[in-house]
Structure formats: structure tokens, C-alpha cells
Symmetry: C2
Subunit: 201 residues, 2 copies
């Protein structure tokens, strides 16, 4: 389970899409949300768009690995598809905030690797927060407050990337994923392989 968190506008979405496009071993966890779809968003791909009532039912049935209210909307990670992907030998990528990451670590049976993406500067972050034309000034201000709150949790993450340059950040994320897969406990079957090597000598 591979978590990427960042303040809105640090480039996380671009980076996670890049990873998904180049690595067949990892799949995205699709969140459920009660917010309205934005133009172009597809139900079941970008989000599962659900009613507030259905969201509440899913919470009560324990169907979420993590869930939270952000501004006026609810977001959550349905447990089923994640566990199915993990059982199938895939890694799962989560685009969630610090609250979700904390809950995931508590609720998940498998190990979590977490990365926090920082913007290179406040100016760059503000510039990026203003580029979504459909957002009102009030929403931008709220998002900046949330960004400051989100960044206060950077030290709870395993790895930190300062996203100065997209290509460099992509390489760094690639390195983290490759390295984590080389960790001993994740390389199942090696015990038998080494036994064979030793007996063959």
C-alpha cells in the first residue's frame, strides 16, 4: 500500500498518474465521495460518486479503510477493491490526506509506505492553487488554509519529495517504489531459492 499525500497544488495528481501509466504492478485506489462530479470526471474511475445517505450506510457497515469530511463533502476509500487488488499481487496507490493516511495505517492489514510531496515554494503553491478556473476566491482561500494544515503533518511520512522538477520527482518516486519492492520481507519465495543455492554447492 503506497500512499502519496501533499497539499493541493503540489503536483501529486500529475505524479501519481505518471506512476500508474508506467507501472503495471500498481493500481489506483478509487475513492468514494459525496461531492458533485466535475466536468469530465467518470464514476468508478475518478471517484465513486455516492449520496450522503449511501456514504453513511457504507461507514456504518465498516466498508471504508479510511474516510473523512473535507470542507462540505465526504471522502472515503472502499475496502473491497483494495483488498482484491492486494490479493491479486498488485500494489495499490492511495491519493489521500494526512487524516486518511493515519486511519489507513490503523485499519489496514498490510504494510503502508507513505510519501509526502512538498511544493518548491509558497509562490509556486499559490500559483498552482489559482489555476483551477472554476474555483471561487473563497474556495481558493479555504484550500490554502487546508494546504497549510496538510503540510504540518509532513513529518509523519516515510519519504519526503520536494517537487521542484517533475522529471526528477518522477525518478524519485520510481526509486522509492523499486527499493521498497527489494526489501527482504516483500520478496516472498527467496527462502526456498537460497536453500537451493546452498544445497547445490
Amino acid at each position: 500500500m503506497f500512499v502519496m499525500s501533499s497539499p493541493s497544488g503540489a503536483g501529486k495528481t500529475t505524479l501519481s498518474r505518471g506512476l500508474l501509466d508506467t507501472d503495471e504492478e500498481i493500481v489506483m485506489s478509487v475513492s468514494a465521495t459525496t461531492r458533485n462530479p466535475r466536468p469530465g470526471e467518470v464514476d468508478g474511475k475518478d471517484y465513486y460518486f455516492v449520496s450522503v445517505e449511501d456514504f453513511g450506510l457504507m461507514v456504518n457497515r465498516g466498508e471504508f479503510l479510511e474516510h473523512a469530511k473535507v470542507f462540505d463533502n465526504y471522502y472515503g476509500t472502499p475496502r473491497g477493491p483494495v483488498e482484491e487488488a492486494l490479493s491479486g499481487g498488485k500494489d495499490v496507490l492511495f491519493d489521500i490526506d494526512w487524516q486518511g493516511t493515519q486511519q489507513l495505517k490503523e485499519n489496514a492489514r498490510e504494510d503502508v509506505v507513505s510519501i509526502f510531496i512538498l511544493p518548491p515554494s509558497t509562490q509556486e503553491l499559490e500559483r498552482r492553487l489559482h489555476t483551477r478556473a472554476q474555483d471561487s476566491a473563497e474556495i481558493v482561500a479555504k484550500r490554502m488554509a487546508k494546504a497549510a494544515d496538510e503540510m504540518s503533518h509532513w513529518a509523519e511520512y516515510d519519504y519526503i519529495i520536494v517537487n521542484q522538477d517533475l522529471d526528477k520527482s518522477r525518478t524519485q518516486i520510481r526509486a522509492i517504489l523499486d527499493a521498497e519492492r527489494l526489501k527482504r520481507p516483500r520478496q516472498t519465495g527467496l527462502g526456498g531459492f537460497v536453500k537451493g543455492l546452498r544445497e547445490g554447492l
Copy 2:
């Protein structure tokens, strides 16, 4: 502190040289040994060649981070040059066996990242063990016994690489080193950077 261990003949020396040639931030720890120099080996570069008496004095003065007897010779890692390199902000690469790795973890003040390199097959390992023309059959047999012993400790390492293909193994070692440098506790100065980002919003 970056440790690479492997049975003799798994390709570790080639891989560590490749890393040193392409990464200016890492330096090799040079071991002291009581064995005779092989043709072409340079004192102070390949090893510090010392007498058995001097080696014993260094042990008594606590000048080794780790030391051991291998076959009829002593090997050890002098503490001074390692601590100097680490103080200068460099990473240090250690080409030591499982006993040395255990001692290093006990004696070192800084954190240790360890990689175990496995050969792809017994056949390949045997082939490589026979390619050093200057070694007698007896030495080869001893080395095979030591290789089997060394491999029994693979599970004590953080990362495992099966050296099937040198280029792939190089990329994997590169990824491990890059990822480890991105770990939060190793990125000093980030606290102030994030504080600045948040206050700027």
C-alpha cells in the same frame, strides 16, 4: 552507512565499483588486512596492508568498527576514515561479510542500510568462483563452503538483490540509495523549509 554483502562470486565487487564511479556522494570504506597484496593491489586504496602484530594493536586500541578472521587472515574496518567521511556529509560503502555487518550495526553511531547480493544460480556462482586463475582448488573449495555459510545470513539484510543481470542490479542499487536518501529523518533542514512554506501562505 551502506553495506553490501554477498558470497564471493556473486558480483558484489563489480557492483560496488560501478556505484562508486557514478556517485560522488559515496566513498568506499578501505579495510585493513593481514593478507598479502595480490598483483596490482595498492596499499591504502584496495586495502591497508598491515602486519598481524599491528592488526592486534589496532584491535586492542578499539580502532576497528568491525573485524574478523577469514580463513588464515584478519580483516577489519578502521573507524577513523569512516567517521571522517560521515562527518563530511558523505555516505560510506562497506564491502564486508555477515559477521562484519553484525558488528558494524552494534558499533556504529550512525544508521546502517544493508543489501545482500545473491547469485542467480549455483552453477553461475561456481563458474565465477573458478575464474580467479591464481587460486588453488583447495582455496576454491574453502570459498564455496564460506559462500554457503554467507548465504545462510541473507535474511539479516534490509534489501535483497538477485544479481541475474548486472545492469538491472546496478539500477536496483541506485534505487535503494536514492530512496534511502529521501527518507524523512535523513533530509535535515526540511523542518525549517516547511515552516517557511506554511508561514508564507
